[in-house]
């Protein structure tokens, strides 16, 4: 990892900083909007995309899709929070990973829940 590429990533002009702040605010609402859209969708079982602690069982390779606007926005958040430590290539890979997680969030939202379905953990006072 070269120092030059690190410096390039961490040089952020004020306009981009303002854009990043605006995007970060917008993101907070984005999942809610998407959840509303998905309300009528049926639960579905996509192929397991991640078995994180052990390697994934072989699965069909999905066709690469261009990142959604929400994924691009999250990518900007990643750049704002961690860009100083990342080379351009690393940041690209982080953005790709973020896009995958945004798509995974869509899969979650497509699984319907009722208001009374509580999280599967118990808080004890």
């Amino acid at each position: 990892m070269s120092k030059q590429s690190r410096a390039r990533v961490s040089t952020v002009d004020p306009a981009r900083r303002r854009f990043t702040k605006a995007v970060a605010s917008a993101i907070a609402a984005a999942p809610l909007v998407a959840a509303g859209i998905a309300d009528g969708a049926h639960a579905q079982t996509p192929p397991a995309t991640k078995e994180p602690a052990a390697p994934p069982n072989p699965q069909p390779t999905p066709t690469p899709q261009p990142p959604s606007p929400v994924a691009e926005a999250y990518g900007e958040v990643a750049r704002a929070r961690f860009g100083e430590r990342l080379t351009a290539d690393e940041l690209t890979r982080v953005r790709r990973s973020v896009a995958g997680k945004v798509a995974r969030g869509d899969a979650l939202r497509n699984a319907k829940l009722q208001n009374g379905d509580e999280p599967d953990f118990i808080f004890n006072a």
Binding site: A43, A48, A53, E90, R93, N110, D117
Partner: protein, 470 residues
């Protein structure tokens, strides 16, 4: 001079000889230590050999056994633990350079229970860094380099319990403790040709174990037979006040009463799409295992799992809980010291998982558990190949290892709902590498899983084969 027959012997065989004083705990421990030092490095299986403390424990065991004070079936038996379990007398590295000098002043509950049972801790065993939580895709993702299966050292021993898998297969220890968040016992058990038991969530205390994902992490035995898994689970299971998720569900082995329902055949479900497009040898070996099952059980083919987004649920939970568990490491930038490039940046994306997605995933787990409980009203067991392929070659990333192979797996889903599973060797595939049969049961069904696996191993000898070490 002890022979390989001793080192590869079962816990029951070793224990009988130790209690009859035909075998010395000190001599046995010396023998395993020598094997750890000779073969451990070339298999990438060992982090710390605990020579001094092990010999001290062995001398204590020898003295007690001479006095006729046998503590139980594990007394005098040498074992190893994945290096994510705290021990007061050795570093606990979590398999990762940022923690290579980390020390604790106590023993994990599992280690304490095994030491209290008279077992002798001889080594802290290698693992994938941070149990794979940062999203690794190469076998080299470890402080100690790639783990190698003793069946062919150009191939991986699996992850993230890479050291326990290799060390048990090569008889560097009599048994080992691994951990599983999503596949980390079943996978190395399959790739190394050993028996690995992932207990029900809450069966075994995790106190003193590295946390990756609190609501998914489990500890379990990795052994050379299913019966050995039974003995070890019996020693480590049960409530622990130091782990509030642990249950008062002790496990006894051998079982005090027969575990099978006496009036009907067991009903076995074969997971749909789990073997048809697996590697040819995996498929053939699985079909041969099914033929054995059909002799005594009622087998139903093409059973689908209840319809839920398991991959998304498990991935979201591991990301959110893992990012929280390692937030300091990620935000400080010390992740740069991890072994492989993908782990050095994986945490940054994990940090951005929305809280709402995490809660949504956790909310889905209750209906998922109910649906699995309903499924297990129709079937006693679910079966599938442990993995769709043999071990991955070391010189390729996981994605490039075995192109064209595609199969459904119960691993992620079963971990999401917290049910137990056992993997036992069921043959060999390409390059002389082992394959595995995976049995999954309802919550708290470890007695049934071990019983069926023991019967399978009474009818086969795959678990008795020895890798070609020289």
């Amino acid at each position: 001079m002890l022979t390989d027959d001793i080192f590869f012997a079962s816990i029951a065989e070793l224990g009988a000889q130790l209690r009859a004083r035909k075998l010395s705990p000190v001599e046995l421990t010396e023998g395993y230590l020598a094997r750890l030092e000779k073969f451990g490095p070339r298999l990438g299986a060992v982090v710390t050999v605990m020579r001094e403390s092990a010999l001290r424990e062995a001398r204590t065991a020898e003295r007690e056994l001479k006095q006729g004070r046998a503590r139980g079936p594990l007394h005098g038996i040498p074992f190893g633990v994945k290096d994510l379990l705290a021990t007061h007398d050795a570093p606990t590295t979590w398999g990762a350079t940022p923690y290579k000098d980390q020390r604790f002043d106590y023993d994990a509950t599992v280690v304490k229970r095994l030491r209290d049972a008279g077992a002798i801790l001889v080594a802290k065993l290698a693992m994938v860094e941070l149990a794979g939580g940062m999203g690794y895709s190469h076998a080299e993702a470890s402080l100690t380099g790639a783990g190698r299966t003793p069946w062919n050292t150009d191939y991986w021993s699996g992850g993230s319990s890479s050291g326990p898998g290799a060390a048990v297969a090569a008889a560097l220890v009599a048994f080992a403790i691994g951990s599983e968040t999503s596949g980390s016992i079943i996978t190395p058990a399959a790739f190394c040709g050993v028996s690995g038991l992932r207990p029900t969530y809450g069966r075994v205390s995790r106190h003193g174990a590295m946390a990756l994902a609190w609501t998914l992490d489990k500890l379990g035995p990795m052994c050379r037979s299913a019966a050995d898994c039974g003995y070890v689970l019996a020693a480590i299971a049960g409530y622990d006040a130091l782990d509030p998720t642990s249950h008062n569900r002790p496990f006894r082995y051998p079982p005090p009463v027969p575990v099978r329902p006496p009036r009907r055949k067991l009903r076995v479900a074969v997971l749909k799409d789990s073997f048809e497009k697996a590697q040819k040898e995996v498929r053939d070996n699985f079909l041969a295992s099914l033929e054995w099952l059909k002799q005594t059980t009622q087998v139903t083919m093409d059973v689908k799992l209840p319809d839920f987004p398991y991959g998304a649920v498990v991935g979201t939970i591991v990301d959110a809980e893992g990012a929280s568990a390692f937030r300091d490491l990620i935000e400080s930038g010390r992740v740069k010291d991890l072994a492989v490039p993908e782990d050095r940046i994986g945490g940054y994306a994990m940090m951005l998982v929305p809280a709402v997605d995490y809660i949504h995933a956790m909310r889905l787990r209750a209906p998922m558990r109910r649906a699995w409980a309903d499924m297990f009203k129709q079937y006693d067991l679910l079966v599938a190949p442990s993995r769709a392929t043999v071990a991955n070659p070391l010189n390729k990333s996981f994605g490039e290892a075995w192109p064209g192979v595609s199969a459904a797996s119960p691993i992620g889903a079963a971990n999401a709902v917290g049910v137990p599973a056992i993997s036992v060797p069921n043959g060999f595939g390409v390059e002389g590498l082992p394959t595995g049969l995976q049995l999954v049961g309802p919550a708290w069904s470890e007695d049934l899983l071990v019983d069926v696996a023991v019967r399978y191993q009474q009818a086969t000898d795959w678990h008795k084969r020895r890798p070609p070490l020289a």
